[in-house]
């Protein structure tokens, strides 16, 4: 047992910066006498904190820990490449979320300062989560990440959807946390440790010999699968994604998803997904069904956000595929490569989903707009750039080359095949063929259907000008091409 050292503090400094930064907007608000500060100021405060934290993370990684793994706070937290990369992704993504929030009607009036505070607080949890190396910190991170989001969802001004979404997420989220926690308890009870390091030392065989431990692991997995919205624990996702204000949805779909998957990556590293364990077959089914449910459910959706939510479920399935390959590849030469490609997938997905929700956010003219796919009718005429951007993003989500969505998916397929998961991959491929339909449908409405007089998207004056959101959407649509074609540089960063 060593005492907390200065190094620990320094390594954790991005977190501290985040905490301090999160206070800035509300402090400003307090100083201004509880008047909402100008949103630009708030945005800058948040962005500075986020970017600063990201820079700090990177520099800590490169300068202090010398690109190795550093265990802080008695092995509660780990700072390694994975932590660094995912933290940076999350932090930078959050900047974009903040921008979306600034221009979205659900948050542009009052409460932007509070939202910024909540977002940054949530990120504190998120970064803790990706750095967690003990189930205590995992739980802590999960909860700290989720709690502000409950509020953020519910902060919609006068919108019953956001309230419903908040309560659903809150109840189900806590419910899952409790299950997760029970799992941790059982694992702890049977093995005497909650740290990943300890579990690693314990060995994989333990899971086959100790029923209580297996039970615990199962419950933990259920909790984690719930967070990444895998079948059959995906139910909350769609409703919550739809009901939440769009920027918050984009936050959940990108940042929170990345964070949750990082936990899964670390969890998989424990070896419980290897083919020797009984979990193996189960997870195969979960993966296949997640993909099918996600893609299948999206087929019949009218609401854009709901459709994207189902798509998000499907993408979780693909990542699961990669994770399974990762679990099977232990100690083989491709292990690092798979992890890297899974991360690449997560990064790419964040970009695509942020962009897509960005467009949705642009289109929302009032709170709780609940846009339907058919509301896009005529967008190709009035906002060609935006329509094209959305098209590219959707094609990328659908896995059409040369967009990044294709490459990431293809890599994961290769790894899965390499690890012998042939039938799962085939189903995954079938699912992705199913998906094409709903990714193409918005394009049908944007370009091919003739707008009638009551279609607002066909009316150029209908939209308020949201330059930053527009910029984000277009920027991300370009990004999905460039990081697809020039993936080498991105992979270099992730490695």
């Amino acid at each position: 047992m060593k005492i907390v050292s200065l190094a620990d503090i320094i390594v954790a400094s991005p977190l501290i910066l985040l905490v301090l930064g999160s206070l800035a907007p509300i402090t400003t608000k307090v100083i201004l006498g509880n008047r909402e500060p100008r949103s630009f100021v708030t945005l800058m405060e948040g962005a500075v904190a986020l970017v600063g934290s990201a820079i700090l993370t990177a520099s800590v990684y490169y300068l202090l820990t010398a690109r190795g793994s550093y265990f802080a706070f008695n092995d509660l937290l780990i700072f390694d490449r994975l932590t660094m990369v995912t933290s940076v992704i999350m932090l930078i993504s959050s900047v974009f979320v903040l921008i979306l929030m600034k221009e979205n009607p659900s948050s542009s009036g009052y409460g932007y300062a509070e939202l910024t505070f909540l977002l940054l607080s949530s990120l504190v949890g998120g970064v803790t989560l990706v750095a967690s190396y003990d189930f205590i910190t995992t739980f802590l991170g999960l909860e700290v990440m989720s709690l502000p989001v409950y509020v953020m969802i519910g902060m919609g001004h006068d919108d019953r959807y956001s309230k419903e979404s908040a309560i659903k997420y809150f109840v189900l989220g806590s419910f899952a946390s409790a299950i997760f926690l029970l799992g941790v308890a059982l694992m702890y009870g049977s093995s005497g440790t909650t740290s990943f390091e300890g579990l690693l030392k314990l060995g994989v065989e333990f899971i086959s010999t100790n029923f209580v431990f297996l039970m615990g692991v199962t419950l933990v997995i259920v909790g984690l699968l719930f967070k990444v919205s895998a079948f059959p624990f995906q139910s909350w996702t769609v409703d919550v994604y739809q009901g939440a204000p769009t920027p918050v949805t984009s936050y959940m779909a990108s940042v929170m998803k990345v964070a949750s998957f990082v936990v899964l990556i670390r969890f998989v590293k424990l070896g419980y997904f290897a083919s020797s364990t009984p979990l193996f077959e189960l997870i195969q089914w979960v993966t296949v069904l997640t993909i099918l449910v996600g893609n299948g459910g999206a087929l019949v959706q009218q609401s854009i956000k709901r459709m994207l939510a189902y798509s998000s479920i499907a993408h979780s399935g693909y990542v699961m595929l990669g994770l399974m390959a990762y679990g099977l590849s232990e100690y083989s030469s491709s292990e690092e490569l798979i992890k890297q490609n899974v991360l690449f997938y997560l990064l790419a997905y964040s970009v695509m989903t942020l962009g897509a929700f960005g467009v949705v956010s642009y289109l929302e003219q009032k709170e709780g707009a609940q846009l339907k796919v058919s509301d896009l009718r005529g967008l190709g005429r009035t906002r060609l750039g935006l329509a094209l951007a959305l098209s590219l993003l959707l094609l990328s989500l659908g896995g059409i080359p040369p967009f990044v969505g294709f490459f990431t998916k293809f890599y994961l397929f290769i790894h899965a095949l390499d690890q012998g998961l042939v039938w799962v991959t085939v189903w995954a491929a079938v699912g992705s063929a199913m998906g094409i339909y709903y990714y193409l449908r918005p394009m049908v409405f944007m370009f091919m259907e003739e707008p009638s007089s009551n279609d607002q998207a066909g009316d150029a004056s209908y939209f308020t000008w949201k330059p930053l959101t527009h910029l984000i959407a277009v920027f991300f649509s370009i990004v999905v091409i460039t990081i697809g074609v020039f993936s080498r540089f991105v992979l270099e960063f992730i490695r």
Binding site: I400, F413, M443, M448
Partner: protein
């Protein structure tokens, strides 16, 4: 760099089209640029050494190291023809669009040039992932071309087209992954280069469906069969053709379908020689069924475009049966027929488009007796019809003759069925011609005063008509150049790795 240029130039064209400020010059600039692209293709053709087997103008840059995916371009004696076909049809299509496309012109040309780039790309790439990339990428512009400038049921048609093709090719993606891993296993390194893949010996057990080679064979074959389209995966084709604008139909029939048949030659046959040999009977049966089935379907259509669409199914049947006859006659014939079909069916769609512009109907019942009104049009249509039904001295005959002779060499009894297509082909085409052009004047003649082809339209058709005859009278100009491509393939498809050994360096 020539090959990169030939892919990149259309992209540049698309960019120029998108940025061109003055809308008045769109048509002319598009034509000019497509002609330049054609000239680039011509330069490629002239610099191509037909006496060499193997790849030429090779460009290879490692692209994604982790999996050995590379930017790998090259042309051989087979692909050069399809590249030429593509660049040749493009200016024609552009010229034909001058009057038919009146709105969203900019987007239209952007899509057209993107499409050209993707199609050429799929013909000249020798890297599996790059190929898949171009393959899928070609769907997107076509999706928009049909969906934006199409007919009444364009959305149904375009979605069907896209999803069907995509669903068909998704297994190819998985198979690509498997091949990649096999490459790693047998060659010791990750590679998606086709030339390396040729060296892989994939385990094959004759009677067993679940042997690796058979499964991979079918995974690829399915993708190409949908694209081609082979009976019974053809139902997207009539819908797509009927709804597509003229240019869309021409490109679709002229070039895109060739992506399917070409890929059979390039991928399926040499990669899976044993499976190809073993299952060739199936594909000959499917091909012949397609010939007859397509013809029977064409016989009873009342929409001119549907007649031609189903005739495409029939013609594709010839090509597939030809390829899987696995002898040099049939395969040369198949390649020849690919070019023929591009020209004659392309021409037919152009012609239908021209008359549609005048009458706004494709319903055969409403036509009749228009020959007197539009003599030049009639003459050209007849010429192309004769090409389509393979009358000697037109290009169609050469292709069909070689294919049928080749099928006979492989399976004599089945050739008789294939030959039945010759009769039925004449049946549906001439019946259509009779109903449209001959007999007493029909409704459209009474409703519209039809005017004959304009000079521009004649200019559109002339190169095609010229090729119909040139390829029919002097096919040897082409056939002897197939030698190093097709005949080498036929003779060596069991050990096609030879091909990779004799590949030439780049330019």
């Amino acid at each position: 760099m020539l090959l990169s240029l030939i892919i990149l130039f259309p992209l540049i064209c698309a960019l120029v089209m998108a940025l061109l400020p003055d809308r008045r010059y769109l048509h002319k600039v598009a034509l000019g640029m497509s002609v330049v692209e054609f000239l680039v293709g011509l330069v490629l053709y002239l610099k191509f050494d037909h006496n060499k087997t193997g790849l030429q103008f090779v460009e290879k840059i490692l692209w994604i190291e982790d999996f050995g995916i590379s930017y790998f371009l090259g042309v051989d004696g087979i692909s050069i023809w399809l590249v030429l076909l593509t660049v040749f049809l493009q200016p024609i299509v552009v010229l034909a669009s001058w009057s038919s496309i009146n709105e969203k012109i900019k987007g239209y040309y952007v899509a057209l040039f993107l499409l050209e780039s993707a199609m050429i790309g799929s013909f000249i790439t020798f890297d599996a992932v790059l190929f898949y990339l171009f393959w899928e990428l070609s769907l997107v512009p076509m999706y928009f071309i049909i969906g934006l400038w199409g007919g009444e049921r364009k959305i149904y048609a375009t979605l069907k087209f896209f999803i069907y093709t995509m669903a068909g090719s998704i297994m190819m993606l998985v198979a690509n992954g498997v091949m990649l891993l096999l490459a790693k296993e047998t060659l010791g390194f990750y590679t998606t280069s086709l030339l390396d893949w040729y060296k892989i010996r994939i385990p094959f057990v004759g009677g067993e469906f679940f042997s690796p080679q058979t499964l991979l064979f079918f995974a690829y074959a399915l993708a190409f069969a949908v694209k081609t389209p082979v009976f019974p995966f053809h139902t997207w084709l009539p819908d797509a053709h009927v709804q597509a604008p003229t240019a869309g139909s021409v490109i679709l029939a002229g070039v895109m379908l060739k992506m399917g048949t070409y890929s059979f030659l390039r991928w399926v046959v040499p990669l899976f020689p044993e499976a190809t040999q073993y299952w060739s009977w199936l594909f000959i049966v499917i091909g012949i069924t397609g010939i007859i089935y397509g013809a029977l379907m064409a016989l009873v259509q009342n929409d001119i475009k549907k007649v031609i669409a189903y005739s495409s199914v029939s013609h594709m049947g010839y090509i597939i049966a030809g390829i899987f006859s696995l002898n040099e006659l049939a395969m040369s014939g198949a390649l020849y027929q690919m070019l023929n079909h591009g020209i004659s069916t392309g021409a037919l769609f152009l012609l239908v488009g021209m008359i549609y512009e005048r009458t706004h109907t494709r319903d055969i019942v409403k036509y009749g007796g228009i020959a007197a009104q539009v003599p030049i049009y009639t003459v050209i249509f007849m010429i192309v019809t004769f090409s389509s039904i393979a009358v000697p001295l037109t290009n169609g005959f050469v292709g069909e003759f070689l294919i049928l002779l080749g099928i006979y060499q492989n399976r004599p009894a089945w050739a008789a069925w294939a030959v039945a297509g010759v009769i039925l082909g004449a049946g549906y085409m001439l019946w259509t011609v009779k109903r449209v052009f001959f007999g007493p004047a029909g409704q459209v003649v009474q409703d519209h005063g039809l005017h004959d082809l304009s000079q521009r339209e004649i200019l559109v058709m002339l190169p095609l008509v010229f090729l119909v005859f040139f390829m029919g009278i002097y096919p040897n100009y082409f056939l002897r150049l197939f030698e190093k491509g097709i005949i080498f393939l036929v003779e060596n498809f069991h050990n096609y790795q030879l091909f990779s050994q004799i590949t030439e360096g780049g330019l």
